[in-house]
């Protein structure tokens, strides 16, 4: 077998991920779903939103790492997989900063 010098370790074709992993991830997703509803049951004021998003992010993370095989892929694939989030953060930070800073100066549109 040729050594893969330049392409990094890449998964599934040389070894398949054990089926048990997929089932454990699924049960974790079910637990997170129950947790989502459980957390939403309590009125925690401003905390409800970050908690809900945190749980959603946890679900998304295990889908990306295990179902989408990123955990078993090369660093380059990991970078590409994360790139969408990087640009999304840029979108949110820059656009939100526009809206948030609108009342700061007495110019037209300062009403926000």
């Amino acid at each position: 077998m040729t050594a893969h010098t330049t392409h990094g370790h890449d998964e599934a074709e040389h070894h398949l991920i054990p089926l048990g992993v997929y089932f454990r991830v699924f049960w974790a997703l079910m637990a997170f779903l129950v947790l989502t509803l459980f957390a939403a049951y309590f009125n925690l004021g401003a905390l409800n939103l970050p908690i809900a998003l945190g749980i959603a992010a946890a679900k998304a993370l295990i889908v990306v790492l295990y179902f989408m095989h990123v955990k078993f892929s090369s660093r380059l694939v990991m970078v590409f997989a994360g790139s969408g989030i990087v640009w999304l953060v840029i979108l949110f930070v820059l656009t939100l900063s526009d809206y948030v800073s609108r009342p700061w100066l007495p110019v037209p549109g300062a009403g926000g």
Binding site: G8, F26, L29, M30, V63, H69, W87, L96
Partner: protein, 260 residues
Amino acid sequence: MVSEAHPGLSHEVGAAGPHTGGHGDGHAGALQHQFDDIAQQRESNSLGMWLFLATEVMMFGGLFFAYSLFRWKFDAAFHEASLHQNVALGTVNTFILLFSSLTMALAVHAAGSKKTGRLLAFLAITWLMGLGFLIVKAFEWGHDLHIGLIPGVNWSYYDDPHHLEELLSKNIGVHEVKMFWTIYFCMTGLHAIHMVVGLLVVGGTMIYAAKGAFLNGNDQPVEIVGLYWHLVDIIWIFLFPLLYLIAGFHPERFLGGGGH
């Protein structure tokens, strides 16, 4: 057919000929001529798909931003409007998609194991789950159409003076709640379009699989389809708490289908 650039290597696609790249595990027929070896090909395909998924994240990201902005600005209105959501159906749909992600992952595994029967079975279950999701959504939207909450189609819910009074008593502007519904239908509508595309692609994959297309070592197309399906699932994972659980989870209203 031996290419000049790679003496000694046979690049004829589909041929199960000798492959001096050293892969004795049956991938010979799957290597395309522009790649040095199968590992490079697989990684390139993966990178290309992830790049596409990044564009999808940005597309939905714009809508998620619109949601974030208007939820911030119209907090009470969003809270109020979300009371009309059917949390039970939203939960069912979340379960459906999470389960379909499992069956999709199992389908990819089956393709890698060259087990066509299993591959077809898991793809079929995934497909049916996707269809189920759309049926539930159609039911939800049908209800919204009935009571007049669909922008541009039947927007009459807030024409009713009782409903308007309810809003005014909580100091909520009509345009503010209408923004929730507009964003809700744009986001779930775009998501539903993605589900339809997913059904078409998974259906197409089943047809290819039935013809034995993924047995010569080239199981990656199934993996690529899987990546798309998982992304659509992930988008819903975020849509669910943001569109259904703003006002929290109330078991006593869970089965009642929200306010009318």
